[in-house]
């Protein structure tokens, strides 16, 4: 029995008695994304309602209660548009329809409505840089040099233009130019040759992409993650990345969504170093959010080295961002980790750090899920999530990580981390009623991570499961907007294995809301002295158990952490109530 059966949902499950009641609306705050917890999910992989072996919108809709209970605020959907699927759906052949396996536009609209009813927003991937070569725009454009869409793509008689632009997919593409025998010209593509770049110098293309966005926002989407944004324009003598023209167009997109669809969020995928990515925030008039890519590998590095410096260094190198903007941070996602964003200095550093750890290199080069990367160590998984939820930025979880799903490295490419969500110990992990062989990818079956061992149903029943723990953490996080919007200050700690920081903001009551977070990156128990002079007289309350700790005095504050242990404290000014001592 799966969770979307009404009975299962209502069955009193230990630990779910405080289940959040269905809200009537999403958070009305226009800056909701700064407090939100995001959850990345592939429609294909989550739940299959019609039994064809592919997840679909109806299945996803049925799982909304689960997601609401889990405590996420915004779903990020991988591409679901019509596509020949030669690049995981990032090769769109029709922006206005969805892949038939995923259902109908009506299913999608219903899903959006049901999500909003539960207070959950939804954003989706949108590729603006290019289309599939199967897209009718390209099919028309390639016919001849005079048709109405002749100038919608980037055509040339020779293949020598813009030699400074690097070839991104070096393994498969010899050049950014490919020959089209139909039109008898070369076309420009920054990615695969079956993905021709749109010509954003053409105002018609600019307008067409705005219309695509309007279409989906009208249907109810709350925003987009825009894929591959640095490459929209081409200019002589440049590498074609991060051009002023690109920023100007992105600002125009922002202006339109702000004026016509207030509360919409635009999230950039610019896999670059934070100091470069900040340009995509503009002056607060471009993207609302960008991913902070290097934090995640640094967390792994810090864990391996049992010291905080890999994390604190990258945060110290992260420039401030304009008001109203927010980083997106994550532990793992659907892609592999790449080092393409590094600058020369930092590449030296990364190599010096990584190249010497065979294990790290292996782990980073391949596409693995979180739990296998962490050797299935529950303590480290909790440590990592407690950091993810407390560091500055909005956390982006990856579907299945909340139950500790594994991967299937034999599936090749990035499919190993895109296997079906594991709901129950039943057939196909409760994902689908199709025959096993019919599934878009086989569900994981191994004895450690397979759906018989790792699934939502079992973890809902077990009050000490990782799922219940994650639910509880998100519940606590929700009570403290400071996790999303607070300032961030690393605290000095004499013990290098300890990461400690303070987040502060002014709460709705006008009083300061302050969180102290302390993490032990070591496999050993560690003592730690924290210098909390400015908080003398405050009392730390541990957030998960509401346990008051001794007040902060004049002397350094002493805490002891279990191996991979952590504390989230709220610093309160009033003395602790007697009864709870």
């Amino acid at each position: 029995m799966s969770l979307h059966d009404g009975d299962a949902r209502l069955r009193p499950v230990p630990g779910t008695s405080n289940l959040r009641l269905p809200g009537t609306a999403v958070d009305p705050d226009p800056q909701w994304y700064r407090k939100a917890v995001f959850y990345e999910v592939s429609v294909r992989a989550f739940a299959d309602a019609d039994g064809d072996g592919f997840g679909d919108f109806v299945g996803l809709t049925e799982k909304l209660d689960y997601l609401q209970w889990l405590g996420v605020d915004c779903l990020w959907l991988l591409p679901f548009y019509e596509s020949p699927l030669r690049d995981g759906g990032y090769d769109v052949s029709d922006f206005f329809s969805i892949l038939p396996e995923y259902g109908t536009l009506g299913d999608a609209a219903n899903f959006l409505q049901e999500a909003h009813r539960r207070g959950i927003r939804v954003i989706a991937d949108l590729v603006v840089n290019h289309t599939s070569d199967q897209h009718p725009w390209f099919q028309e454009s390639r016919l001849d040099r005079t048709n109405p869409k002749a100038d919608w793509y980037v055509w040339s008689d020779d293949n020598t233009g813009w030699p400074e632009a690097r070839v991104i997919f070096l393994d498969t593409e010899p050049s950014n130019w490919s020959w089209d025998p139909v039109r008898g010209q070369y076309y420009w593509h920054r990615f695969f040759s079956h993905q021709p770049d749109l010509n954003f110098d053409n105002p018609d293309v600019q307008d067409a992409m705005l219309d695509v966005m309007r279409f989906w926002l009208d249907l109810g989407l709350d925003g987009f993650r825009l894929d591959a944004v640095p490459y929209l324009f081409e200019r002589d003598g440049t590498n074609g990345e991060n051009l002023p023209e690109t920023h100007a167009y992105l600002k125009q997109l922002r202006k339109v969504v702000d004026a016509e669809y207030p509360g919409t969020v635009l999230l950039a995928e610019a896999n670059q170093w934070p100091a470069d990515v900040v340009d995509y925030y503009g002056d607060g008039d471009e993207f609302h959010m960008c991913f902070h890519f290097p934090v995640m590998p640094r967390m792994y590095m810090a864990l391996r080295r049992e010291q905080r410096y890999p994390i604190t260094e990258i945060l110290a190198q992260t420039p401030p961002i304009p008001d109203g903007c927010q980083w997106g941070i994550f532990l793992r996602n659907h892609d592999e980790l790449t080092l393409e964003m590094v600058t020369d200095d930092d590449r030296d550093y990364m190599w010096a750090e990584y190249a010497k750890y065979p294990r790290m290199k292996l782990n980073l080069g391949i596409r693995r899920r979180l739990f296998p990367l962490l050797d299935n160590d529950r303590r480290v998984a909790e440590l990592f999530h407690s950091m993810l939820f407390a560091l500055p930025g909005s956390p982006v979880m990856y579907y299945g990580d909340e139950i500790g799903m594994g991967d299937n490295i034999y599936l090749g490419d990035r499919d190993g981390v895109r296997t079906p969500m594991q709901w129950t110990p039943d057939r196909n992990g409760g994902f689908s009623k199709a025959d096993f062989a019919q599934l878009y990818l086989p569900a994981v079956l191994d004895p450690v991570y397979g759906f018989q061992a790792v699934n939502v149903e079992a973890q809902l029943r077990n009050p000490s499961s990782f799922l219940q723990w994650t639910h509880r953490m998100l519940e606590v996080r929700r009570q403290h907007p400071v996790f999303g919007v607070g300032d961030f200050q690393v605290l000095p700690a004499g013990n290098p294995s300890i990461l400690a920081f303070v987040r502060t903001c002014t709460g709705p009551d006008g009083l300061p809301d302050t969180i102290l977070a302390v993490f032990n990156l070591s496999r050993f128990a560690q003592p730690c002295e924290l210098f909390l002079g400015e908080f003398e007289g405050y009392t730390p309350h541990e957030l998960l158990g509401r346990v008051p700790f001794p007040p902060i005095g004049e002397l350094p504050y002493f805490v002891t952490l279990a191996p991979y242990g952590f504390f989230w404290f709220e610093l309160q000014t009033e003395p602790p109530p007697e009864s709870s001592l």
Binding site: R305, Q307, A316, K356, P492, P496, G533, E534
Partner: protein, 447 residues
């Protein structure tokens, strides 16, 4: 007036109990001559600065005084900081070391950095030879204890390096001096920094637990050691730029090594063989390379890892030596030797502290760690552009000079351990035996 005779008597009892007062047993009062007494604050709490002579040495004590009732809270838990009860113009008082009194520490800071605006002071119990107070986790004031006639080398060198644009020293923001002698200095406080020794222990702890090859262990220290080597080379280049370099003196260096050897009663290693090595340096035709101002007391405890890389601290040299010796130019390889010896100590301390004792596997791991760390450090050092100019030109000569300084340092350590921690003496003795039988890590890779 404050009763000076009584104060001198109290200080005669107080000084031997202080960690920074490095002479004689703690429970034996010393004869103290009160030099100068300056009143820095004449209302409660009182603050005076006393300079006292004990033998040839002059020491600085800052004395805070509060009525016994008010002093109780300040000295609570810090009995070693209490000087004693004394009569003052304001009445009967308890005198104590003023650096522990947050209010008086602010008064002291005004002397050194009058324009600093701070709210909180925190006494730091770290430095062996001076006393430090941290303000707002932003500034650190080092109150010098043993006074020299000239400028304090830490102030002089730290300031010159800062002016020379060497980025890996904390910036000086204030200085308190009188008649040419430095009394205190104020630096930016490197918040979140951890000293290199603690970093090394963290790495070793992890390695012992994981076992195996230090390159594969998570706590690998080699990348940090590599960067530390680079910073060390940059330090030497900056010192040469700021203070100049001159020709090294092979004969004088070997004479000093022989003299040091003569002072240390070594048992458990062949003294004659050590002597032979030092005499061999003297008699050799080795080009020993230039001499320059060096750190002089360089080890893992003198470097601090921060978010922006390694910082080098404390340019006072070995405080037990006279000033003119500490500021005398020497080979940069002497600093290199100091750091390499420190890597050996880190391994040994980790074996003791984490309870591995003589377990063969852990011992082998520590040895492999030391070798890997030393080689990364030397790579980082020698790969730095321009450092070759400050070293002997020939690779063999570098080895000869470095080996001699390693041996000299280990001899010094034997003396130190015999005086302070006799059960640790096997650490430097083992190093001496190893140096005599093997060759030291080879500084051969040259960029």
């Amino acid at each position: 007036m404050i009763d000076e005779t009584e104060l001198a008597r109290l200080l005669g009892v107080h000084l031997p109990r202080q960690r920074w007062f490095a002479s004689g047993p703690a429970d034996l009062p010393v004869e103290v001559t009160l030099g100068s007494l300056s009143i820095l604050r004449d209302e409660w709490p009182l603050l005076v600065r006393a300079v006292v002579s004990v033998g040839d040495a002059r020491w600085q004590v800052v004395v805070g005084m509060r009525s016994p009732a008010h002093a109780a809270g300040v000295v609570e838990g810090k009995p070693e900081s209490v000087i004693g009860e004394i009569a003052t113009p304001l009445g009967h008082a308890l005198a104590y070391d003023a650096t522990i009194d947050p209010e008086l520490a602010l008064t002291l800071l005004e002397q050194a950095a009058g324009d600093a605006r701070v709210a909180r002071a925190r006494h730091l119990n770290a430095d062996q030879s001076n006393t430090c107070v941290v303000f707002d986790e932003r500034l650190i004031m080092k109150v010098f204890r043993r006074l020299s006639d000239g400028p304090n080398p830490d102030v002089e060198v730290g300031g010159a390096l800062g002016r020379a644009g060497f980025p890996s020293v904390p910036a000086q923001v204030g200085r308190w001096h009188e008649d040419g002698a430095d009394l205190a200095v104020v630096h930016e406080y490197l918040v979140g920094g951890v000293d290199g020794f603690h970093m090394a222990l963290t790495s070793l702890h992890d390695l012992f637990d994981v076992g195996g090859d230090p390159a594969g262990a998570g706590g690998d220290f080699a990348p940090d050691a590599h960067r530390l080597g680079t910073v060390t080379a940059e330090l030497h280049l900056a010192l040469a730029a700021a203070f100049g370099a001159e020709a090294g003196e092979r004969e004088r260096w070997s004479d000093e090594m022989l003299a040091n050897l003569g002072r240390v009663p070594i048992e458990g290693a062949d003294v004659e063989e050590i002597r032979g090595r030092f005499e061999g340096l003297r008699a050799s035709r080795a080009d020993v390379g230039p001499a320059l101002r060096i750190h002089g007391d360089y080890h893992l405890g003198q470097v601090l890892r921060t978010d922006s890389g390694w910082y080098v601290l404390d340019f006072e040299g070995e405080p037990a030596r006279p000033l003119h010796e500490r500021t005398r130019p020497s080979s940069p390889l002497r600093d290199v030797a100091g750091m390499l010896r420190s890597f050996h100590y880190a391994g040994e301390v980790a074996l003791r502290d984490f309870g591995y004792g003589d377990e063969p596997a852990a011992r082998m791991a520590a040895a492999a760690w030391e070798e890997r760390t030393a080689s990364a450090f030397l790579d980082g050092y020698l790969e730095t552009g321009g450092i070759g100019e400050l070293l002997p030109a020939a690779v063999e000569d570098r080895r000869v000079v470095l080996d001699a300084f390693l041996l000299d340092k280990a001899v010094y350590e034997v003396g130190y351990e015999l005086a302070h921690r006799p059960d640790w003496v096997n650490i430097p003795l083992a190093a001496i035996r190893r140096l005599l039988t093997e060759t030291a890590p080879r500084p051969e890779a040259e960029a």
